[in-house]
Symmetry: C2
Subunit: 410 residues, 2 copies
């Protein structure tokens, strides 16, 4: 039994209803035997949809399905199962996705191309929808507006806590609400989105604008976290907008002030969910922010930040509460981006460890060691040659990470 | 106390003398208190030299020193210390390298620019040569042609066994011998060479030819291994040719048949040392060969092979003897190279696991599980779209890796 991450919220965020959205979950026994693993969400007619997906060249069948049907811009239902990713399952996988969408379309009284799908769990195992068809049909009868916390729980795999967040903002002529749920703990180095995340709002948003705002918000949120540098076949982030709030429709123009209010709330929500995902990283004991400044440009800063954030030697040093800043030097050096060893400076928290290519004269090991004892650690590197900055969130690499992943399927 | 890798040679290779080379070691107490940590090798006048070094942007002071003096193509001495990498040590580090070379030049009766240096150990700690100056001078009096095994032991850090290899080949007009030693266990993803490796031969080889052969041989040997994807600041591979064998000088032309004999022996020697380094990977219990075929080109194959070889989820699955081929799919997918999910096939050893985008009909989990129980595992992926091939050697990611690296400096 894996212990719950020390970063789990003390009490789960209360999730208000989103007008136009109902949800229900059940235990369909797809892989797990003692918990819910199937979610059906329904959306009112007129709901717009946007999504971002894994850049994996081996994307799952549900990712293929969603990509294909996103162009229409309309959604009426979402089906998510945990325990089986329906990835690398060939034609059978595509068939399973279609059959699942057909059943959901039947119960939601919509067209199959208005049904969105996501699956998470083991890769390569065929997913047989006949095994949960009855359960899926049954979910039509238990739909509730208050099902958000149950939905967040039903989509978990190795997660140790459900991830949810909600934001409410005033558009001037009316208040809108955004709810989001996410899952993910390992195989987290999203390259468009994270494992699975779903957002719904009652705002009235044209699909193209929703897509633009969602895509823009992904970079500094889900694409800025890494647990183990491994990108999933199933990364999926979908947003739904029901248009049921009292606020008027938002013009299809990202420069419009009301669109900017929505963009801010969406960014804030996704950032919250992304950090919750990172903070449930498999085996995590330390939540670490890598902050790079002074790189040649934004892209170089990002590459350097990821080189540090994904280094097994940096991550194990952090697990051991070892202020081993030499490994930060190593990770900057191996990133391949422009760097001048003799201009580099490094801080652990507020402690200046190294500057101008060597250990700072005032630095004392015990000062660095004190920072490393905290649960949350900020490591700042100034490359000293330009103005590029980046922030990436990571965690330590612990014995529990190895235990969880050496035993995952057994 | 770390246990010795299960892949340690049953008995160390016997190392013949190389005419023109003498060696000696001592315990200078640079960091370790109970073992040798300082090596002095001397080379006869006329010895040529070639080297390849880390591509890290934060290279160590000894790497800077060697690069600067390699152009002359002549070597008379080599000094290596373990316990301190003299990396990220600023001007003091450069001064320490120069002082060390001056002392060695004095005892070896040569110019400082004929002295080559390498340091391995903790990064960022100043190295004070006055602490081992007397010991270094003393090494002048204990030089022996039979010091190769002691030399291999003196340069170790977290290595659990010394790495050495020897090859003898006939050039037609005389036999030449090549000896090599290497160290390295963690921070192994060489990007030119490995942590430290040194080769000496009694062949008579012009420096430019030696450099060409050494550079050519690095790709499929040291640059084809990875323990943890972390590239060192100190990667150094230096070859010395004393010209003391009975065989005539080798013409400075890599297409010459005698140069090709030398190239073959050098490749073979480096491959042996590289695999010994991999097989002492920190915490290793499985030695894994990743073999990629059918990629778009050589470079794509290499990227995919490294993506699989460095994936924490693949490596922990192997540690758990779990034939979790879905994670191979994940790692191919995230590599970013051209791939068609529906043409991919995967083998564990001889067992065909997946073909044409899904699990093979004949595959049984117990067949894959049986392969995973072996100490040595070959994972083959055919991408199915081109003719690019690559082979990369890796190991599993175990609890011992975390233990070793969470405690390294404490």
């Amino acid at each position: 039994m894996t212990k719950v991450s020390r970063f789990a919220p003390a009490s789960p965020q209360s999730m208000p209803p989103i007008s136009g959205v109902t949800l229900s979950t059940c235990a369909a026994g797809i892989k797990y035997t003692d918990r819910t693993d199937l979610l059906l969400a329904r959306f009112v007619e007129g709901t717009t949809v946007a999504g971002v997906f894994t850049r994996s060249r081996c994307a799952s069948a549900p990712v293929d399905w969603c990509r294909e049907h996103l162009a229409d811009g309309h959604a009426r239902a979402l089906v998510v199962n945990a325990g089986n990713a329906n990835a690398f399952t060939g034609q059978r996988g595509a068939d399973a996705a279609r059959v699942t969408a057909d059943i959901a379309a039947d119960v939601a009284q919509c067209a199959p191309n208005e049904v969105f799908l996501a699956s998470t769990g083991v890769i390569g195992e065929p997913l047989d929808p006949s095994h949960f068809a009855d359960e899926l049909r049954g979910l039509a009868h238990t739909q509730t507006q208050d099902g958000w916390a149950d939905a967040a729980a039903a989509i978990m795999t190795t997660d140790t806590y459900p991830k949810m967040a909600s934001r409410t903002v005033d558009l001037g002529d009316g208040v809108i609400t955004l709810n989001g749920i996410a899952k993910g703990s390992g195989m987290i180095a999203p390259d468009m989105a994270t494992m699975l995340a779903f957002v719904a709002t009652d705002a009235d948003v044209p699909a193209p604008l929703l897509q633009k705002l969602l895509s823009d918000a992904t970079g500094p949120t889900f694409n800025a976290i890494t647990v183990d540098s491994d990108t999933s076949t199933s990364d999926t982030l979908i947003a739904f907008a029901t248009g049921q709030s009292a606020a008027a429709a938002i013009e299809n123009d990202p420069t419009n002030p009301r669109a900017k209010v929505l963009a801010g709330a969406l960014h804030d929500l996704l950032h919250d969910l992304a950090l919750q995902t990172e903070q449930d990283g498999e085996g995590i004991t330390k939540f670490v922010t890598i902050h790079i400044t002074g790189a040649e440009d934004k892209s170089a800063a990002d590459t350097i930040a990821r080189s540090v954030a994904n280094s097994p030697l940096v991550k194990t040093a952090i697990a051991g509460e070892d202020p081993n800043w030499g490994r930060i030097v190593m990770a900057v050096g191996k990133a391949g981006e422009k760097a001048d060893r003799d201009k580099l400076s490094i801080r652990f928290g507020d402690v200046l460890v190294a500057a101008e290519g060597e250990r700072h004269a005032d630095y004392r090991e015990e000062h660095g060691a004190a920072v490393m004892k905290h649960d949350e650690i900020v490591i700042s590197v100034d490359v000293g040659i330009g103005r590029g900055t980046a922030t990436v969130y990571t965690c330590d690499l612990t014995h529990d990470y190895v235990s969880i992943n050496a035993d995952y399927r057994s």
